[in-house]
Amino acid sequence: MQDSFQIKAEDWHSFLLDLSGDNTVYVPVKTFKNLDYKIFTKEIENIVYNVAKPVTPLKNFFLPVKENVFNEKKNNNKQIIIGIPSCDLKALEILDEIYLDNRYPDPFYKDRRKRSVLIGNDCFKISDHCHCNSYGIEPYPVEHADASLSQIDNTIIVSINTEKGKELLNQASAKYQVQEPQAEILKIVQERRNEIKKQLTVINKTLPDYKTTGELIKKSDDDIWIKHSRTCVSCGACAVICPTCTCFLLIDRPDFEKVRQVDACQYPGFERIAAGEDPLHKRFVRFRNRYLCKYVWKPESFNSIACTGCGRCIESCIGNISKNEIFIEMNTAAQP
């Protein structure tokens, strides 16, 4: 399905207001230094599309930081998430493989996936550590979004990709003035895409691709990990903010209730067993574990990639550790 229209920005936001009655509509909002999703209301200001990227990864809409997984609450409320960058959409592949596997599909994840309408957007502005292109991902939505949008001045171009997207967005064309996208606006979108791709290529020219990174990690010795983990404080921010890291802790509550809470292999004791043995006891081993998981082990067991190049782990690291610097260093050392 390929359908698209253009609509004036103020009409689009009136449409979102209509939707926000029965649904929860999330939009990307600029606050102080960051961009993040906020629930759309009439008063909301500073909505910014086409900028990479909301602080919150998409996974949190399906896997909340903490949730009671014992009580099944009825909720038919649709969540419409607008402004998703393509790195986060790509990350859905591995999340779906883990949480919707045939043997143990997770009912909570499944329910939220079903109740969500995903509207992706182009990245016309990237941040310092964006590197989706290095892993074969385009800086605009290609798959997994029900629709996607690009804003050029006061015009919003919406492309519809699925029945779900069509059902929702047909409501806009019924009430507001929409038209087929003008050729000159589509041309601007294309130019901006090309420009961003060029920028990504320049800033990541020495970064090895996903597969090569896996090979480099496999061959690496301890020294490089010891060196780069020196400032790691095991805070787990890299894993918590990662769109593909989904490890969790199950906490027991009275009446046999279970609470699922975000966890990270970077926290000491993550793999410790009752007798006390802990394969991840050493900090550099723990630090390396996350990269082995992403670039070596997950690709062996799953069909999806486990890093989509969003760069959030680099931006969130209070120890100023850049995984990309590690991989560039390894790659440079491996050159003849």
């Binding site: 014992f70 909720n75 143990y104 329910d111 802790l249 199950l250 279970k258 966890d263 793999e271 802990d278």
Partner: protein, 274 residues
């Protein structure tokens, strides 16, 4: 609303009996609120209400759908709470999870079982299964080791096992006392005593990590192919569903892909002996 069965919700089970096996090990006979089926080698998550949950491979017969027995060594904070359980108390059970022993692959073969300490638990369940189909195996040899004679568990079961046709039992303790008239030494010494046709044999190992390691090395040295050594791995299985990540062993989620693996499957993964 989630429409599928809630994979995180335990069923309730009543503690029927508590058996003191050794100073550190107790067995608990549990009666689940409804019939419970598992294949030998698969595991369950046992929860203490409001306190915590831990993985155990049942030590009872997979043919018994009414009761589950687990054998627990006091090692961490959940097992300490389990040890305090009294008959009549209620626990939570989730599962069964994972991949157990592929018993049908053992048909027509000699089955050599190497067990140590509390690692006898999954093995006893397997032995119940093998006894039920005993005519399908050439013979079954159990080699079991523990630290001292008083640490040997399942004494009545071992006595019964010695009487079963085609089954042989060998035991050793690291440190013997006057009461002990079997072997002294680490469990692998028992492998020197037994007669088996390695080319038509499979080996099963379950015990503490160090014993699993040296047991496997000895079996390899004896000529067992890597594909015929079955190991029941111990990791921090938490969700049991291949999702939470706590039991990852390289590319495997031990809870979903294991806990039973052949040595061939896991030999290249990190920290298999912890």
């Amino acid at each position: 609303m989630p429409s599928d069965t809630n994979i995180y919700k335990p069923i309730k089970a009543k503690v029927e009996r508590v058996i003191d096996e050794s100073p550190l090990i107790k067995s608990f006979v549990l009666v689940p609120e409804h019939d419970f089926s598992f294949k030998t080698g698969e595991f369950i998550e046992l929860s203490i209400n409001g306190y915590g949950e831990a993985p155990f491979t049942p030590s009872s017969s997979p043919l018994d759908k009414k009761k589950i027995e687990v054998t627990v060594m006091k090692a961490g904070y959940v097992t300490e709470k389990i040890h305090a359980l009294k008959p009549g108390e209620v626990v939570g059970v989730r599962g069964p999870f994972g991949r157990g022993y592929p018993v049908d692959k053992f048909y027509g073969k000699e089955v050599v079982i190497l067990g140590g300490g509390c690692g006898f638990a999954p093995i006893r369940s397997l032995l119940y299964n093998l006894i039920a189909e005993k005519e399908k195996f050439e013979k079954v040899i159990l080699c079991y080791g523990s630290k001292t004679p008083e640490d040997c568990i399942y004494k009545p079961f071992v006595n019964e096992l010695r009487k079963v046709e085609r089954f042989e039992v060998y035991r050793s303790v690291d440190k013997a006392d006057g009461s002990w008239n079997e072997r002294e030494g680490v469990v692998t010494v028992l492998l020197d005593d037994i007669n088996m046709n390695i080319s038509n044999s499979v080996a099963i190992v379950c015990g503490p990590p160090v014993m699993m390691k040296y047991g496997t090395l000895k079996l390899l040295e004896m000529g067992y192919p890597e594909t015929d050594i079955y190991l029941s791995m111990e990791k921090n299985m938490s969700c049991g569903l291949g999702k939470c990540g706590h039991c990852m062993m390289g590319k495997y989620y031990v809870c979903k892909d294991g806990p039973v693996f052949t040595f061939d499957e896991i030999k290249d993964q990190p920290d298999i002996w912890l």
